[in-house]
Amino acid sequence: MNTTFKAMAAAIALGLPALALTTGPAFADEMAEGKWGEYQVGDKRSGYTYAGPETRAMQDDEFQNPAMLWLDTGMSEWENAAGDAGKACADCHGDAEESMAGVATKYPVYSEETGKMMNLEQRINFCRTENMQAEPYKWESDELLGMTAYVKNQSKGMPVDVSIDGPAKEFWEKGKEFYETRRGQLDLACTHCHVDNAGNLIRAETLSQGQGNGFPLYRLKWQKVGSLHRRFRGCNNNIRAEKLPYGSDEYTNLELYVTWRGNGLPIETPAVRK
């Protein structure tokens, strides 16, 4: 009993999921043989394939995945009536497991109402202000992250399928330009890390392809769930460039481009990353 506790406490203190101690090695061998399974489609590889075995084990165990706490928040918000219209999401959309299945695979989408791209967070808040006549959720609030993750989780395992046809095309081009433009004191573009050097080290960290299929996700560094825009801000900060506001047009266009790059990869929300 005493020794069990000590081992457990050590595992907690190091931030290591206890489960990984048993499942880690076998998993690592499998990965070494290049069997990425559903996490690789053609040349596209999910961030999952660049993550360490402990992190992957956390994501694989739905109970151990701390992001599920945020999904619980999203689930209760779904039923929670708010605003002057006195409606909850469930009043119009019914059971999220049915009505929201596959929806997130298409986002960001072009919105006729606003004349620009709308990502899932913006769509949720649009629904709140227009249809529920409620206050929009604040960006990076537990409610918005929880709701976004909950909705996107209904498409888990389905391939990302973003359209860049029609009116979305010009926004895709803007996103692509952002992606390929050098910025910040380090004078780096997204491509320099995530296209040219995916799999290589940047200091001690492995660069991934920068795919967005797992967002919103639980990041161990953040100790909470965060949005893709938070990740963009972190990246921009790292290259000592200006961080743009959450939900800015530039980031939403960039989200379109980044998500389109990952077309075909399965939605993993909520993923776990280091």
């Binding site: 069990t4 506790f5 907690i12 203190a13 999921p17 151990q64 701390p66 945020w70 928040t73 100790q223």
Partner: protein, 108 residues
């Protein structure tokens, strides 16, 4: 985020079987070693104690220290000899406690 515990414990087991129990609670686990943007120390607020009881009898106790990450996940084992009720209790630095109960039926 309000602290909400999640527990995965079996509903039934055979007598003497070793069962695994998993718990997860949302908590910021503020270590007390950080400062805010004005240089003031952010007061420590962590879950400092966790206890798992079966029919009121504690069988797993953890004293938790500030190095533990946010949203602590704790898993452990139990060997039930009779039917009963689990109770899991988390103690917060601010004096509040969070708890969750779960029933277990032992067959045979």
């Amino acid at each position: 985020m309000a602290s909400k515990p999640r527990v995965r414990a079996p509903k039934s087991a055979s007598k003497g079987e070793v069962v695994e129990i998993k718990t997860l609670i949302s908590h910021k686990m503020e270590s007390g070693q950080r400062k805010d943007s004005d240089g003031n120390v952010i007061p420590r607020q962590i879950i400092n104690h966790f206890e798992a009881r079966f029919n009121g009898e504690p069988f797993f106790i953890a004293e938790i220290e500030p190095a533990v990450s946010a949203n602590p996940y704790i898993s452990f084992y139990h060997q039930p000899q009779e039917s009963g009720e689990y109770e899991f209790v988390w103690n917060d630095d601010d004096g509040s406690t969070y708890s969750k109960k779960s029933k277990l039926t032992v067959e045979g």
